[in-house]
């Protein structure tokens, strides 16, 4: 889909090339993450693809066509673009911002409106609430969503994203990443994604291209990168705790069936039975659900002594946090550490209980994979 051949860029007045002799091929529907320390040429490489920077040497092929021969405006209109700090237009409403490319392409007005509304819903912004607001009235996370929506509205086959989730707190970032992956699963766009965060790279990518001082050091799947780093630079970048980074690669729903799923107790179960269940459980607790399988809470050993009653519902207390099954194991670990528990309950969007992931499960995964 995208092929870079011997690509080089020397900025005027610089002796050292920002990018030198870069060869990279990105398959259709793949997310390729360019990663490396700042100044390694990853952003420069990305900006050459939509010709914000003209290469000083080499070729760029997009679907086999020579991109350097194409009209740059036409080229850019068909490549979605999300940049660092998002670059929303402060004087336009969210709707107008997202409609930028359709307006440039002179789509009919109602088709644009329709499409903007669709794409806003897709990224989780209610069009009725947000379309007439100005960017200054949005939170960081909401602006990032608008940035992504703006890039996707005309359904371009290729998207370039330069640290699109950089400017938000870690929790919001993880949520945006998960949502984006869910959207990508459906859309199957070819994406070039730039980040300096190796964890984000591992989580988001189909392939990772590690760059240093303008050169491509290694281009591999995240799994290969973790198990066989090409040189010391890559292994340092990946870091020492590689096996923990593997947790980024696995989603909860991939292991949920395999883990020994402790049965939840129903809220009107006799407390005697529940007590036995707690004794047998390796987390010394039992999840309680109502008759619709919705999560009610949890009963631990200490709750049995503190409270009284006949059925499980009388004893249960609220769980601190839950997780959905499309999150990664690393997200699960984060929640466990934050709540100070050795487990986390997995629920679906309707808050229905799907299972429990324990610290022990994570250890097993790390052991098997490593």
């Amino acid at each position: 889909m995208i092929k870079l051949e011997g690509l080089s860029k020397v900025f005027p007045g610089h002796n050292i090339p920002a990018v030198k002799d870069l060869n990279l091929e990105i398959n259709e529907g793949d997310v390729c993450v360019l990663v490396g320390p700042s100044g390694c040429g990853k952003t420069t490489t990305m900006k050459m693809i939509n010709r914000l920077y003209e290469p000083t040497g080499g070729k760029i092929y997009i679907r086999g066509e020579d991109a350097l021969q194409m009209n740059p405006i036409k080229l850019r209109l068909d490549i979605g673009y999300v940049i660092q700090e998002i670059g929303l237009f402060p004087h336009m409403t969210i709707e107008e911002n997202i409609a930028t490319v359709p307006n440039e392409k002179q789509w009919p007005k109602d088709e644009t409106k329709q499409k903007v509304s669709e794409v806003m819903t897709l990224v989780g912004l209610d069009p009725k609430v947000f379309k007439d607001r100005y960017p200054s009235a949005l939170s960081g996370g909401q602006r990032q969503r608008v940035g992504v929506a703006r890039a996707m509205v005309s359904d371009p086959p290729i998207m370039l994203m330069d640290e699109p989730f950089g400017a938000v707190d870690p929790i919001t970032r993880a949520r945006l990443q998960n949502e984006f992956l869910r959207i990508q699963e459906r859309m199957g766009k070819t994406i070039v994604f730039v980040t300096h965060d190796i964890d984000e790279a591992i989580k988001m990518s189909d392939t990772i291209a590690v760059m240093r001082e303008g050169e491509l050091v290694q281009h591999a799947t995240p799994s290969d990168l973790l198990s066989a780093p090409a040189d010391e630079f890559v292994s340092n970048l990946v870091g020492r705790n590689r096996s923990i980074k593997r947790l980024h690669l696995i989603r909860i729903n991939e292991i949920l069936d395999e883990v020994d799923r402790a049965k939840p107790a129903s809220e009107d179960a006799k407390i005697g039975e529940v007590e036995k269940q707690i004794e047998e459980s390796d987390i010394r607790s039992v999840i309680v659900v109502d008759k619709d399988n919705k999560l009610k809470g949890v009963i631990g050993v200490s709750d049995l002594k503190r409270k009284s009653g006949e059925v499980a519902g009388d004893y249960c207390q609220d769980v601190t946090d839950t997780i959905t099954s499309d999150a990664t194991l690393n997200d699960a670990l984060s929640v466990m550490l934050e709540c100070g528990e050795g487990y986390v309950a997995v629920v679906n969007e309707d808050d229905q209980y799907e299972g429990t992931i324990t610290l022990g499960d994570l250890l097993n995964v790390v052991k098997e994979e490593g």
């Binding site: 914000l52 850019r76 673009y81 940049i83 998002i86 670059g87 336009m92 930028t100 100005y134």
Partner: protein, 240 residues
Amino acid sequence: MAREIWKWLGIPLIMIAIAAVIVIYSVNNPTDSIVARMLTYERVFRVIREHMGLLLVSMTGAIIVGVAGGIMLSRPSLYRIGRVMETFVNIGQTVPSLAVLALFYTILGLGFNVAVFALFLYSILPILRNTFAGIDGVEHNIIEAARGMGMRPLRILTKIELPIAFPIIVAGIRTAIVINVGAATLATFIGGGGLGDLIVTGLSVHRDMIIVNGAVIAAVTAILLDYLIGKVEERVVRWA
């Protein structure tokens, strides 16, 4: 709707009323025969008309040239000249308006047109500088986002740069108008007419009443125009 209009027109109407009261009182109760002869409705209306003429012609020219020049200087090819221009404008503005008028008097002679030309040149400066600074101040990543999405340079200018720079450009125009109303009172020295006529006449015959009339009308004009442009700007810029 009616309330909205009153909110807009309240202050201007009060200002106009104050000026009108002073003029009507002075014309009907002159302190002596000299004031009675020098201060008539006919004369007041004439100098107001002349003053507005000076203002309108010189400001229209200054806005067109200042904004167009500022846009041109902000383009990449002329950007370096633009930066130099900023410094020169700052120096230019330290020259007193009286000196500017005197200078053009020596070069071009007397009359309304010379006064208009001098006021025009003097008013360009803040507009030119603010237009340039306003466009220059648009965040780099906003322009880059626009370029990256495939907007053409002219579209970026009209849809992104100018609207974002608009409040700053308007601030330049407001500054220019206030300066212009004041400086135009000096046009009378080179035969340009205007409210300065009343002030200079009053000074030469030692009658404060005539001076006050000229000064008050000039002040009210300046405040009024500044206020109205500010209101229009508030209406247009909803995003800040």
